[in-house]
Assembly symmetry: C2
Homo-oligomer: 362 residues x 2
């Protein structure tokens, strides 16, 4: 409370207020540090940026002044002047899906290493929110963007970004007709493996539940499904295909609808693990046992798949690795504008657990 020695004020509030005002207005500036240390601002600036041209003696002197004054570097001002950015936007559709948590960890770990900070936005699969988040991030001068597009995303979204010349990497889901860097798993191949596994077990009536129809992630899976069925001279039955939002709740609804239909499948391939969890819940609600009465396979291999009831057979799409690759790719793009478009497709792996591995008593 030294600052208030000059007045005799005893009103605590006023004192406090005065102090706050003072501190709030006056962030210690590099110029003040320079003055305190007896050097020019340019010299101080070179020091905060670790320029080796400065003698060890001056550097130490200035660093000492910074400590004494409690200096905090203003990266925002620096970025503005030098026309650079130390932030990156990350837009995902649903953080409560642990697929995205894992993806986010991969992104963050990688960006942190190169000194970039993440501005996070969640769209909940709404086009409007996606566009709004992109605007916000642009206004905040992000140096690049990792975008997991909503299912209804159109090419216009990208051309807008391209016009501003801001580096973008798409992840998880592609955008129709868009030529853009992309990181994701091979959903077609993954689905093929999953369905092939079910067919080998003797299943002939296989349903496909969940996912937004005609989104790229859904279409790819549908291709894989068809391929596997065709090889076994089987066909996709329309009454066994029900699309939905990619959530647990929607999976529950979808399987309830399925079970109301005249025919019943012996196995279900689910769009994602999240959908599969809802499907298993629904099956049980209907008095059936997942993994015994109906086999279930998911997609993603989120951490919970291992501990679900029963443990879920699924296709690993390596979310953390995807995040890492996306961040790496974006960082490369930011560094060199020369970068040519890349597609990084991770090979999926089938992980067989109890939801599809018991002997069938057909």
């Amino acid at each position: 409370m030294r600052q208030n020695a000059y007045n005799g004020c005893n009103n605590k509030n006023q004192v406090r207020n005065a102090r706050m005002k003072q501190q709030k207005k006056r962030r210690v500036t590099l110029q003040q540090v320079a003055e305190h240390a007896g050097v020019s601002t340019s010299t101080a600036s070179l020091i905060v940026r670790n320029n080796p041209r400065i003698s060890e003696a001056t550097r130490e002197k200035v660093l000492q002044s910074m400590r004494e004054l409690g200096y905090v570097y203003d990266r925002v001002a620096a970025n503005l002047r030098s026309q650079t950015s130390t932030t990156v936007g990350l837009i995902i559709t649903d953080i409560s899906n642990t697929f995205f948590s894992e993806f986010l960890i991969g992104v963050q770990n990688t960006l942190e290493e190169v000194g970039l900070t993440v501005l996070l936005g969640t769209t909940f699969d709404s086009v409007a929110k996606q566009e709004q988040l992109i605007s916000t991030m642009l206004e905040h001068r992000v140096g690049g963007l990792i975008l997991c597009p909503v299912s209804g995303a159109a090419e216009e979204t990208l051309s807008r970004l391209e016009q501003l010349d801001i580096p973008v990497v798409l992840a998880v889901r592609e955008i129709a007709d868009a030529d853009c860097d992309f990181v994701g798993a091979d959903y077609e191949e993954g689905t093929y493996k999953a369905v092939h596994h079910l067919i080998e077990k003797g299943h002939q009536e296989i349903a496909f539940l969940g996912g937004v129809k005609h989104s790229s992630t859904w279409t790819k899976r549908m291709k894989g499904l068809k391929k596997a069925l065709r090889e076994a001279d089987l066909e996709v039955k329309n009454e066994f295909v029900i699309d939905s939002a990619p959530t647990r709740e929607a999976g529950y609804e979808a399987v309830m609808e399925l079970l109301r239909r005249p025919e019943r499948p012996t196995a279900i391939f689910c769009f994602s693990d999240l959908v599969a969890f809802g499907v298993m819940q629904g099956i049980r609600k209907a008095g059936l046992i997942p993994g015994e009465d109906i086999d279930i396979v998911g997609f993603d291999n989120v951490p919970e798949a291992e501990i679900s009831y029963p443990p879920l057979t699924t296709v690993s799409s390596f979310p953390r690795q995807s995040g890492k690759e996306a961040a790496q790719l974006l960082h490369d793009k930011i560094a060199s504008s020369q970068h040519k478009k890349q597609r990084i497709i991770l090979a999926p792996e089938l992980v067989i657990r109890e939801s599809s591995s018991k002997k069938r008593n057909a």
Copy 2:
């Protein structure tokens, strides 16, 4: 490609490069917009900030120029000049814990409504990383900070922030000896309810697994445990208390160690749902059945608790609501520096599921 009309260059790369350079350097500025619309920069500035003083006609004219030129507002420059901030730092310990995903959703939804963007950082419970993230956020000029402290956090962390007069709200975990705004659940009461429930079921040998010893979240639970046991004339047995990191893996290890000891409890209260999932896995690994041989209770009521095997009895700590409250509180603090310290403690609720509700055959 109009820009290149003056040269005869056919090298695609060079052309592309030239274009990028040009676009990269020249972000459209408010001044350019003003010129294009034939008004002064001040007028344009008032318009971007939705000042009603401007006539509808000029406003429309300027907005039209913005569209034509592809103007993007530079919030960073604006914030620098006006000494404000439109970002908030959020530091959590582990995003793969869906407790924090839910918390994050609560924070984001609330902040978004008031036009604030989240800078996200994850500490993985490392003190060093926490301090580093705080520095980064300060350098990025966040207007405030929501901090879920690491278990070893000390008061110094806060005094540093206080000195800079940056609004802070602690969430989930408190810091010893620190007087700071706080949002969290009543862990003591929650634990009391959980353990009381076990005792009512006839359990006398109750273990407490997981959580970092002496962290505030652990200590509060320990108090609740003791209170419930004391009421039933029972005591805490040291060999039934094993601390650990608050993760699934650590829960697994903890129960494995527990089962190696001479005595075995009939029920386990777990620090969190995540720990409980690991515990149930370990119990099963040891050939026992959770919910039959040993009853299990978790804490948090994360979404997976409902679909685990068996469904987990747990104490709901309302993560999404906590996030909402924390964001709201921070926003209030930012708005009025007059704010006095608050503690928002949510009342926990016991959610009984199969992991502790079957009849006991003791």
